[in-house]
């Protein structure tokens, strides 16, 4: 349900950078989204099409690069990637874990026509 404010944030950032670059229009946004951020691509795309309509970003493609969640065990140093839910270390069953990737949630770049 919170994809609308998130889509608005993305639009705000993209427009700021597009204006700085004196772009005529934005053609693509490259987003980096970690597996652990609870975001649904299709829902953002749905809101995006509506809110970007009369802006420099109208028609721009949202490209989502998904980063898998990676954890490191603080006891045995084993690193592993999550397939589904959070699990204990598959090697030593420790629950002292550190998330090393998968929390990303940023706009990496935009592609513009000037």
């Amino acid at each position: 349900m919170h994809e609308l404010p998130i889509a608005e944030n993305i639009l705000g950032i993209a427009l700021e950078y597009a204006e700085q670059a004196e772009a005529r229009r934005v053609t693509r946004l490259n987003l980096v989204i970690g597996q652990l951020s609870s975001i649904v691509d299709d829902t953002i795309q749905f809101y995006w099409d509506i809110i970007s309509k009369d802006t420099l970003c109208a028609g721009a493609i949202l490209n989502f690069e998904r980063i898998p969640a990676t954890l490191v065990c603080l006891d045995c140093a084993h690193a592993y990637t999550l397939s589904r839910e959070l699990t204990a270390c598959p090697q030593c069953d420790s629950i002292r874990l550190k998330v090393t990737a998968g929390e990303e949630f940023r706009l990496e770049s935009i592609e513009v026509e000037t």
């Binding site: 349900m1 919170h2 204990a88």
Partner: protein, 221 residues
């Protein structure tokens, strides 16, 4: 001509920077802020009322109530308990964000309070994504919700300081595997303080309030 413009900006940066301003405002007024999150019906308001009852002799309290609908039921209960309360009607929105809290802080008599309790909208997903600027975050779970919630809603349990498990009086009547629940929490957040309580019987409330006083004292120094 087409070109790539590097951005590299966190999507939540606008909210995060406003959350930092909220924190600065609370710090300047020497008010400790606590964000309470839970699913609908877990007992947020009951826990807040129990907490107010136990703390009222030692702390001057204020409450911000987040609600999706334009009703003042929860705020009325708090006002009846003698506290300043500000209601945020999110207009159907599923969470509080830093902008909404900023608006509520402007209405709250901060000079008259020491501990601000922020009751987030009942939801286990969206509030986790929006920092408010409070000093600590608490989730209230409850026995009837089931022992699998940490596995289904992992994000809300990460980054919280305390977890309350309410409605412990219902434990004999419900299939709730405490070890399974706690293991799910520990994987997500091994440092979290855990308080099994019952707002109905008062069980465990003293331990929770003792922890809260200790944490509030640390931030007020």
């Amino acid at each position: 001509m087409s070109k790539i413009v590097p951005v590299v900006q966190e999507i939540m940066s606008a909210n995060d920077s406003l959350a930092a301003q909220n924190r600065a405002k609370l710090d300047a007024a020497q008010v400790v802020g606590m964000n309470i999150m839970a699913s609908p019906g877990a007992g947020k308001t009951s826990t807040i009322l129990r907490t107010i009852e136990a703390l009222t002799a030692d702390y001057k309290l204020g409450v911000v109530e987040g609600d999706t609908a334009n009703v003042t039921i929860d705020a009325d209960k708090v006002i009846a308990a003698g506290m300043p309360a500000v209601q945020i009607n999110t207009g159907g929105n599923c969470h509080l964000d830093a902008v909404m809290l900023s608006g509520a802080l402007a209405q709250m008599p901060l000079a008259e309070i020491e501990l601000l309790i922020v009751e987030n909208v009942g939801n286990l997903i969206c509030p986790a994504s929006f920092a408010l600027g409070t000093h600590f975050n608490v989730v209230i779970a409850s026995v009837p919700e089931g022992d699998d919630k940490p596995y289904k809603y992992p994000n809300i349990y990460r980054g919280i300081d305390a977890l309350i498990l309410n409605k412990m009086d219902l434990l004999p009547y419900i299939d709730f595997d405490m070890a399974y629940f706690r293991r799910g929490i520990e994987i997500l957040n091994p440092e979290v303080a855990f308080f099994p309580i019952s707002c109905k019987t008062g069980e465990g409330v003293a331990e929770w309030v003792a922890w809260l006083k200790e944490r509030a004292a640390v931030y007020r120094q």
